[in-house]
């Protein structure tokens, strides 16, 4: 393992020379996958004002994206079970590389760059072994596969950089799937979702598991606060009508906090968190539920729900300068500030699950 660690450390130190930056291309604020009116899939770039700046074709339905920290370069991930991740030069709209999973693996739809942009990490399924994997790609070598390590659980989905220490935090959703059976869930009776905190070479630094009565609450999506608090959103796989928390906060070394557990309005989420995001200062965290058609905003210190917005088929969510920006499957881009919802744009297309902020 030492050799691999040294190899990775070398890659991280080498860094990546800045090419054209995000600011150079006219400052898109967000990326989102989508589906156009003609049925074609794309990755779109949105301005802070909700305008669609450009869109780049994708061969199939996308899910999330990862933006390079400095270069105007993004990786658009296919919806799981993903067979591609397209690296796109956002200055020209051209595809720089297509990542394809190795034999026996598929992508889950999320990934993240290392802080210096030299490596890309992707969540993957080693499906014959029912084992979650984090794939490593060497950006400077043209996104060459550079290795992989265990994700610390089954079904890794979203993944973020830690802010309190170098490393990754992975949402292992706990649900086993196999491409032979599509998206069918194979182990609902013995799920064990977790949050795994991993070093960049795959050493487990910390682990959060839920109490047994919440073992069917799949941890899926993440947001990271500046102080290193991980916000996570869950999707309940137990009986419909069971009343369970959907949003949690965790910081290694501190107790888990589940938000809104005693607020009846958590039922409006229909047991399903689609995306979540901290506000810029980290004083609030919001979750979307396309199934419930709501966005719920919680105050992070008290854990109380501060606002609820009813928006049909809402899912994408990201912090913006005035609060939150949300997107919907009916093409809306909305700004949420306090109790108000401001319509920024109505596009004749469908925005997919995630709205990815560009730093």
């Amino acid at each position: 393992m030492t050799s691999r660690r040294r190899f990775l450390a070398g890659l991280l130190a080498a860094g990546a020379a800045p090419a054209v930056s995000w600011a150079d291309i006219g400052g898109p604020a967000f990326l989102s996958a989508g589906k156009a009116g003609d049925g074609r899939y794309f990755l779109g770039a949105l301005g802070a004002d909700g305008s669609l700046l450009f869109r780049l074709p994708l061969p199939d339905r996308g899910h999330a994206a990862a933006a390079h920290p400095t270069r105007a370069e993004a990786v658009a991930f296919a919806r799981r079970p993903g067979r591609f991740a397209d690296v796109i030069d956002c200055t020209s709209g051209s595809r720089i590389a297509r990542l394809e999973p190795e034999e026996g693996l598929h992508f889950y739809g999320h990934g993240v760059f290392s802080p210096d942009g030299s490596l890309l990490f992707t969540t993957e399924n080693d499906y014959d072994n029912a084992r979650g994997v984090i794939g490593i790609w060497d950006v400077s070598a043209g996104y060459r596969r550079a290795g992989a390590f265990a994700s610390g659980g089954i079904g890794p989905h979203d993944m973020r950089l830690r802010r309190d220490a170098p490393g990754l935090v992975v949402a292992n959703g706990g649900i086993e799937t196999h491409p032979d059976s599509g998206r069918a869930k194979l182990n609902l009776g013995d799920m064990r979702p977790n949050l795994s905190y991993l070093s960049f070479d795959g050493q487990q630094q910390d682990l959060l598991e839920l109490e047994p009565d919440l073992a069917q609450n799949s941890i899926r999506h993440l947001s990271m606060a500046a102080d290193g608090t991980t916000g996570f959103a869950m999707q309940w796989q137990g009986d419909s009508g069971d009343v369970v928390p959907i949003v949690g906060l965790h910081r290694p070394g501190e107790n888990l906090r589940l938000l809104g557990a005693d607020d009846p309005r958590t039922r409006n989420l229909n047991g399903y968190g689609g995306s979540l995001a901290f506000t810029k200062g980290g004083s609030q965290i919001a979750v979307t539920s396309p199934r419930g058609g709501v966005v719920q905003v919680f105050e992070t210190t008290s854990g109380q729900m501060e606002a609820q917005h009813h928006i049909r088929d809402v899912c994408g969510l990201a912090a913006s300068s005035r609060g939150m920006t949300a997107t919907s499957g009916s093409g809306q881009v909305l700004e949420l500030t306090g109790e108000t919802v401001h319509h920024l744009g109505d596009h004749p297309l469908a925005w997919d699950n995630h709205l990815v902020p560009l730093a």
Partner: protein
């Protein structure tokens, strides 16, 4: 010539105008009378509890059934006035997967919590101890009809009934004084009549989903582990009744929404008829049959009929109304 041109114009625009009129008409013609019944039956329940708070009182039991019937008929209309101040949740805390209602009631009775004396203080107690489902425990569950002090139980029943009267009156008041107008002439809350149609269509789908997943799905559980004690309002023998009342109410809503499209209206009507007929033939008021393999399939068949209705509404009525199925809500990822 000119005259006939102007006469023809409204006909050319008729589908859109008719749909806008239809949605406004649903608020006035369908929803307001149901909300009036909700408030009227809530007030009558409180009056009956004041007159005789005994669980054996046939007047009180009848008032309870009337009031809960009225709630079930509007239970899918979960937007606007029912959501203000969490009114719907404090009227109807169900499903109760963590048994909060019996726990909250036991605690109140054991401590003789004085909040029952004042409506304003009762409004602040756990919502699990308020509303129709908590009152059902006090009137129909033998573990609660005899628990603790009789005078306290009486005060609790009266406080629950008064709370139901207050909240249903507030819902009705808001519908009459502002919300019906927002649906009739969309301006702020809804930007246009399409958004009003979407809201009503969503409540139709929600009602069908809730019926299949909760009212039928929760007692069905799995074949290996049926859960008859999860049936809604089984203590008062009302589980199947809730399915029937909901379907009747949803049928009215679906008929109104589909008014512009006779083909869709016809197929929905036929499926509602089939489903209601199956419910009428079930003769199993609390779904006790889910635990018996010989009768379980009949409840499963009813659930399948409701799921078929949901699919039909989504795939036929949705497009007819210009409402597409949710790109993200159907995705699951």
């Amino acid at each position: 010539m000119l005259r006939s041109f102007f006469l023809a114009l409204p006909l050319a625009l008729s589908p859109l105008i008719a749909q806008a009129d239809a949605t406004g008409g649903i608020a006035d013609g369908l929803i307001l009378p149901l909300m009036a019944d909700l408030a009227g039956s809530g007030a009558a329940l409180s009056t009956a509890a004041e007159a005789d708070c005994s669980p054996e009182s046939s007047d009180l039991q009848a008032a309870f059934h009337d009031a809960l019937d009225a709630w079930v008929r509007v239970s899918h209309l979960r937007f606007g006035p029912t959501e203000t101040d969490n009114r719907a949740f404090s009227l109807a805390f169900w499903p109760d997967s963590r048994s909060k209602t019996p726990k909250a009631l036991s605690a109140m009775i054991a401590k003789e919590n004085p909040a029952v004396a004042e409506p304003a203080s009762f409004d602040e107690v756990s919502i699990a101890a308020q509303g129709y489902y908590a009152l059902e425990f006090m009137l129909f569950d033998p573990a609660y009809t005899e628990l603790g002090n009789a005078a306290y139980r009486c005060a609790l029943v009266q406080a629950q009934s008064a709370g139901i009267a207050d909240k249903t009156a507030a819902i009705h008041h808001e519908w009459v004084n502002s919300f019906a107008a927002e649906m009739r002439d969309p301006a702020t809350r809804y930007r246009n009549s399409e958004e009003v149609t979407q809201e009503l269509f969503k409540s139709l789908l929600t009602g069908l989903q809730m019926t299949a997943d909760m009212r039928l799905g929760r007692p069905l559980g799995t074949f290996e582990r049926p859960r008859p004690k999860r049936a809604e309002a089984y203590r008062s023998g009302r589980s199947l009744r809730h399915v029937v009342l909901t379907l009747e109410s949803l049928n009215d809503l679906a008929r109104a929404l589909a008014a512009q499209d006779p083909d869709v209206a016809g197929s929905l009507e036929a499926q509602f008829d089939k489903t209601l007929q199956r419910a009428a033939n079930l003769h199993d008021p609390v779904f006790a049959g889910v635990a018996d393999p010989a009768t379980r399939f009949r409840v499963e068949a009813l659930q399948q009929d409701v799921l078929d209705l949901h699919l039909m509404a989504e795939q036929q009525l949705g497009p007819a109304l210009g409402v597409e199925a949710g790109f993200n809500s159907l995705d699951g990822d």
